[in-house]
Symmetry: none
Subunit: 173 residues, 4 copies
DNA sequence: GATGAATGAGGGTTCATTCAT
DNA sequence: GATGAATGAACCCTCATTCAT
């Protein structure tokens, strides 16, 4: 893929994400293209239909989250610290938007795999934190992840809002 | 209002709520009418436009919730018990759907008032529970309500799912 | 026909005419009925469809005009005087509206007959005025009537506006 | 603008004008598109809504009239001759239709300006004709224009019909 | 007989998608 | 390859008309 094509592709994803976040999910393909400074034709050259674009936005965000999470997990610092960092990172991501864009488990297999892998990674982190004694032990790791998902995929979630804080505090031992 | 008209009005609200829950917010007015066994015209006679129908669904649900909450609060049993009942009742309601239908505080004043009143009621309950010593005292009542809102307005929330349980347990003293 | 029925019928015609004049031809049957303080059903009992109502409005107006014109013509005063009176009366009538309601010669036979008769009467008047020497003789009576029609069926025509005056002056000898 | 787009735009205006003239103002956008051999979408790409199309028709006609009038006025022949030519040209134009499409002074500023300018030009012509002694001097130029407007904006006006003739004759000295 | 609720065809408009330039 | 014009299905909504109350 030529450099400019790649740049256009990324431009489209970014623009679409921004428009969805600001003006809601109903933004038209035309407007996305126009805002990106491209013709609709170009948009459709990169994404065969709207669904494909939406999925790419989700994939793009979750891939970045995965990258971040892996980086944070790799070191051998305490799991709690990693968990906290990941949660705070999540809170800055448009996860609620992505949920609303492609509700439930989409048919897209890569998306499904990513979600599974992310949940698995979080679960490992939760388990580790419980073992190191920084996370309450009376909740099964799976449930902890569920809780965190709720906290982090809620519309308007931010890293430093009270709710994120309260939930993290509540989980801490 | 004639008896049949009232019946139709309720039928429409119920049908629309069901369709929204099952097939998403994008269901067309035509389909709502057809599913209800009515003509579109009838639907529009009862609700001047889509927005009005959506707001009525929200109002209808929140009014019932208010009625329930007041009934439960009136008795002089422990606040914790009332709070638990209300939360479990909420979990059976399509609150996430309603959120997504009329995001944030709608322009509709009655809706806004209802939301305010419900939150106030919950806050009184939380405060009461803290005073009677059944609810953790280290979280301000407003935050407790925020937490519960998140728990209860999440898509797919159910009274007996683990998350609701965990959150209630986490709040208990 | 019972007295109240007759009253309702006239009320409808008057109301409809008023609404058409004020808010344009597109006023709905519903609104006409509501403004008249009746149900649509009653309206439809009197007029089988919209067209019938529109034609009745035209008939009603033209019948009154005919009555007036005949009264004015019957006396044996000068034709010019009669013509002037009729023209001024016309200018106060919603003739432009009626034209736009039922454009050209409607299929309605009574309406067609009335228009024919009115034109004939005007032509007699014009001819008479020419014979008594008060109206320019260099325009055939039929054309005079055509001119007057234009003057009098124009939207916004009023008895005392400049155009009516100018045209009458222009025809005077 | 691409050549085919421009062609389509003109095709739409022409087609719509023809349909309005033949079948009345109520012709649907769908039918206009179909008659023009285009999809509705194309029609809406060129004109954001019905009103815009209607205004374009009016603008288009009045712009042509202005061009013609200026051309005819530029020469230094007698004003009466110019006036006669313009009036006859008008009579071939769908001015009555345009009046009924966008009644009175529309909100559209260019349309308003054009009407003003045309009236001003006619008034200059009338004044000039009075000064050269070819037009009756006993009617103020503004009124002459009013009269001509009535003659020329009447439904069914034609350059060679008796009424136009009579009015022109009546104004001649 | 009066009422107004119900009907549904039809109109204006949007927008995902295709395709000529 | 990029552009944006064209397409038409589908949506929201209106309103003349019918019919149950």
């Amino acid at each position: 893929m030529r450099a400019d094509a790649r740049r256009n592709r990324e431009l489209i994803v970014t623009t679409a994400l921004g428009l969805f976040a600001e003006h809601g999910t109903a933004v038209s393909m035309e407007e996305i293209a126009r805002t990106a400074g491209l013709g609709v034709g170009t948009l459709y050259r990169h994404f065969p239909d709207r669904q494909a674009l939406v999925e790419e936005i989700a994939l793009d965000t979750l891939r970045r989250l995965m990258t971040f999470s892996e980086a944070v997990t790799t070191g051998d610092g305490p799991c709690w610290q990693a968990l906290r960092l990941v949660v705070e990172h999540c809170a800055g991501l448009p996860l609620a938007l992505i949920r609303s864009l492609s509700p439930a488990t989409t048919a897209n297999p890569e998306l499904a795999r990513l979600e599974r892998d992310l949940n698995a990674l979080f679960e490992r982190l939760a388990k580790g934190a419980q073992e190191e004694g920084t996370l309450r032990g009376d909740i099964p790791p799976g449930e902890v992840v569920g809780l965190l998902n709720v906290a982090v995929c809620r519309p308007g979630a931010r890293a430093d809002d009270h709710l994120t804080t309260v939930i993290l505090d509540g989980l801490r031992r």
